[in-house]
């Protein structure tokens, strides 16, 4: 992650974020579910996941949100404030696959130095997540 925070002026519509591949492991899926206090069985119990028609445990939505947020702050830095996340969910994230997060700056709004980043997380089955993260950045010195 960057140690410098991006300034509002440094960012242009169309800028792309560094691609972030996330190897999907059972450990990540279970750790994400437990860290978010989401003990719904399909996220930690393979048998329960199989009964629901999946071949293994699959990622819960909070973890997806957490990864999307990390992807954006890795790029934007510590002084960015995330103000909103809006996502559409697609194919499940399953162990053994890789989700690759890509993103680009879609909008800038000078009132409040607001920036909207469009994000896509794609795995072998298609788009796991598509959406937008809204954040504010500090003004330049």
């Amino acid at each position: 992650m960057s140690t410098e925070t991006l300034r509002y002026q440094d960012v242009n519509v169309g800028d792309t974020l560094p691609e972030l591949p996330i190897p999907l492991t059972s450990s990540l899926i279970v750790a994400g579910a437990v860290a978010s206090q989401d003990y719904t069985p399909v996220h930690h119990d393979k048998e329960a996941a199989e009964a629901a028609g999946m071949q293994d445990v699959f990622m819960n939505i909070l973890t997806t949100n957490g990864l999307v947020s990390r992807f954006v702050t890795d790029w934007a830095g510590i002084d960015a404030r995330i103000t909103g996340v809006s996502i559409k969910l697609g194919t499940p994230n399953l162990p053994g696959d890789t989700m690759t997060l890509t993103g680009a700056v879609a909008e800038k709004d000078e009132t409040g130095n607001a920036v909207t980043v469009e994000v896509t997380g794609k795995n072998a089955w298609g788009n796991h997540v598509t959406g937008a993260v809204k954040l504010t950045l500090p003004a330049g010195d």
Binding site: Q37, Y39, D45, I61, G66
Partner: protein
């Protein structure tokens, strides 16, 4: 089959009673916002942002002190281990609504969208509670998963001073699981770990050709009588009506006769944009295959290409083309 007629009308009237109501439970966070749970979350996510875990960096940042990752909002009010039992509070109107859908055959459930906004970042010691309202239920929709209804809920989060700190909405589809997938007689009822391309069906007239591909050869069928080449293979020669045939191996050299760049729909197992070309092989027959390792904008009719036979996924070999050197 989805319910219809008066049954559907009555059902949709029952649904109306749920729109706009509070689900009947207030979720009280069991722990105040705390550094241990935040650290655990950041470790799981691989999130190294100092605002969450490094007091020194946090103090120097716009946040001024340690804060919780904003996307962790809902984690502060979830039930933890008690959720594993699958039992729910009988007062929960949201669960009651889901059971009503189940009773009409809409047993499938999938979250399709979620939106969150954060009024402020949570600080250590904040105490969070939340209330959820069923905002709306859509009319019946045809979706990729089946016929169903979208339920929109909104959860509002407040702190110890009863001030709003953020909200989130969920859009959940309750759907009728398609008969085909429900009664699938496939030996594997679960999805394979990685999507593979669609494999050819093999029969008398084409299995030999695919056997050649397994041996890394691109074969062209030839009439034993008049020696006309033909592709795709057929059991009889259209020129002389002879039934006897053999085959030759193509050099794989050819030119693009026409091509497409497929962008939609994206079928699992394939990589998009996907270039597919009709290639005129130097032997004179044409063959349909992918063109790899090229910017789709650079593909042209007339371009020279060379075939090679390669594994295109974990299981299938296929002749593929690249621009000739």
């Amino acid at each position: 089959m989805a319910i219809s007629g008066t049954e559907r009308e009555e059902f949709e009237k029952q649904l109306e009673a749920y729109v706009g109501i509070d689900i009947g439970l207030e979720d009280q966070g069991r722990d105040p916002v705390n550094a241990a749970m935040v650290r655990h979350w950041c470790e799981a996510m691989g999130d190294g942002c100092g605002a969450y875990t490094d007091p020194v960096q946090a103090a120097a940042s716009v946040h001024g002190e340690l804060v919780a990752p904003p996307t962790m909002l809902q984690a502060w009010i979830l039930g933890g281990v008690s959720m594993a039992s699958g039992e729910s509070d009988p007062r929960d109107k949201q669960k009651e609504l889901h059971r009503l859908f189940d009773s009409k055959g809409f047993t499938g459930v999938v979250a399709t969208n979620t939106e969150q906004e954060y009024t402020r970042y949570l600080k250590m010691g904040d105490e969070i509670c939340a209330k959820t309202v069923i905002e709306s239920i859509s009319e019946q929709k045809a979706t990729g998963l089946g016929i169903g209804y979208f339920i929109n809920t909104r959860t509002t989060f407040r702190d110890q001073n009863d001030e709003e700190v953020g909200w989130l909405t969920f859009r959940v589809l309750k759907f009728e699981i398609a008969e085909a997938s429900a009664s699938s007689s496939d030996e594997s009822s679960v999805t394979p770990s990685r999507p593979q391309r669609l494999k050819p069906a093999l029969g008398h007239d084409n299995a030999w050709w695919w056997d050649c591909v397994e041996k890394d050869e691109l074969a062209i069928q030839r009439c034993s009588s008049c020696h006309a080449l033909r592709h795709p293979p057929r059991p009889m020669c259209g020129e002389c009506q002879a039934s006897d045939w053999d085959f030759v191996f193509s050099t794989g050299q050819g030119t693009i006769y026409s091509f497409v760049v497929i962008r939609h729909p994206e079928v699992p197992g394939y990589t998009y944009p996907l270039v597919v070309a009709v290639v005129e092989l130097e032997e004179g027959t044409r063959f349909v295959g992918n063109v790899l390792d090229i910017d789709p904008a650079e593909v042209e009719v007339g371009m020279s290409v060379q075939a090679s036979i390669e594994l295109v996924d974990d299981e299938m070999k296929l002749p593929v083309f690249r621009r000739a050197q």
